[in-house]
């Protein structure tokens, strides 16, 4: 390394530090959620499946993290035949077969 390049090039340690900080911010969120979503998906599906025939592939669980509130979104697609049965049983039918729950943010550590 020439004498000049000492000044022109960024120190590798500061590059390392910055890369790690960016990467780990993402990974901490991803790993803290990694257990939660599959667990929720499995348990919610089990409850719904007790009463209505649903296709396990047609279930979507999403969490959007916000500052004050996070949104837990669960979309379960119900086949037409099973759907007709539910809506006739409900006093007031909802438009779609998707439900939205709001939960307070469970902040990752």
């Amino acid at each position: 390394m020439s004498w000049l390049s000492l000044f022109s090039r960024r120190k590798s340690a500061s590059v390392a530090r910055e890369r790690l900080q960016i990467l780990l911010t993402h990974e901490r969120v991803a790993t803290s959620q990694s257990d939660l979503i599959p667990t929720l998906r499995e348990e919610i599906l089990a409850v719904v499946a007790k009463h209505v025939a649903v296709d396990p592939e047609r279930v979507e669980v999403k969490i959007d993290r916000g500052k004050a509130v996070s949104l837990l979104e669960i979309d379960i697609e119900i086949p037409a035949t099973a759907g007709a049965k539910i809506f006739s049983a409900l006093p007031q039918a909802t438009k779609g077969a998707s439900g939205r729950l709001q939960e307070m943010a469970a902040k990752p550590a």
């Binding site: 120190k11 590798s12 340690a13 790690l20 780990l24 990974e27 790993t31 803290s32 257990d35």
Partner: protein, 271 residues
């Protein structure tokens, strides 16, 4: 009361076994009753680093399965009276250890020792989670290198999620032990500084072990470094770490690159 300490890192080759042997020996040199336990089933090495490889008859797996009594498997160190080794099995696979079996062994060890030091295998699989499962505190061994820091961050996450202590809603006590640190390269800006690693991982610093040829020499000889070269910089750093674990309040010595130390207080605690 006994303390169960796990030495862990995620990444392999960063100095977990060296650290287990050195901390175990240093604690025992201070009169503590210590057992070092190798959890690396199938790839045991703690016996070799401790110089007891030819004395292993029974191992952790035998005891965990209830086939032999604990005292039959414990190997007493020939140099320090209060230091013992419980080796891992070299021939079985990781499934040979059950959680219940390990729990029973740890409970029994707690009754006879001041310190139970669990040497974790690399990775985040079963062996690593079993080694940390019943720990009261953790020493996270990290090199000042991006892949090691990333893996340590992952292990810290597991310590807070997969341990008995975490399951009880308690906070796992975690300490950073930085190994292979080269103050000259860090000063030049070509190695992560101690402060960088502490900021990223946000756990308190237990010790900084300088890069040193004495470490390899000690493992060649089958002797923990605090016994092989007690005056060397790494041995002094490990000895200080042991004292700090025993509750002695002293600042962390930082290597100055001339086989000495620059005493510097790192007062920042975990976030």
């Amino acid at each position: 009361m006994a303390q169960v300490l796990v030495v862990t890192s995620g990444k392999g080759g960063v100095g977990k076994t060296t650290t287990t042997a050195a901390l175990g020996a240093a604690l025992a040199q201070h009169g503590q009753r210590v057992v070092v336990v190798d959890f690396d089933v199938g790839l045991r090495n703690l016996d070799l680093v401790m110089g007891a490889e030819r004395r292993v008859v029974y191992d952790l797996t035998y005891v965990a399965q209830g086939n032999v009594r604990l005292h039959q498997a414990l190997i007493r160190d020939r140099r320090i009276e209060t230091l013992f080794l419980l080796a891992a099995s070299q021939t079985r696979d990781k499934d040979a250890l059950s959680e219940e079996g390990v729990e029973r062994v740890i409970k029994e060890l707690r009754a006879s020792f001041d310190w139970v030091i669990c040497d974790s295998p690399a990775g985040i699989e079963r062996g690593a989670t079993l080694a940390m499962r019943f720990a009261d505190l953790a020493v996270v061994v990290t090199n000042p290198e991006v892949s090691s820091v990333r893996d340590s961050d992952r292990i810290i996450g597991l310590l807070d999620a997969k341990t008995e202590k975490a399951a009880r809603g308690e906070r796992m006590d975690k300490h950073l032990l930085l190994t292979r640190y080269d103050p000259i390269r860090a000063g030049r800006g070509d190695m992560l500084r101690i402060e960088d690693v502490m900021d990223i991982l946000s756990i308190p610093l237990l010790a900084v072990i300088p890069e040193s040829e004495d470490v390899l020499r000690a493992s060649n000889l089958g002797s923990p470094i605090t016994l092989a070269s007690p005056k060397s910089a790494p041995a002094r750093a490990y000895d200080e770490a042991a004292q700090r674990l025993m509750g002695v309040d002293k600042p962390v010595s930082i290597p100055n690159g001339r086989n000495g130390f620059l005493t510097k207080l790192f007062g920042r605690r975990a976030a």
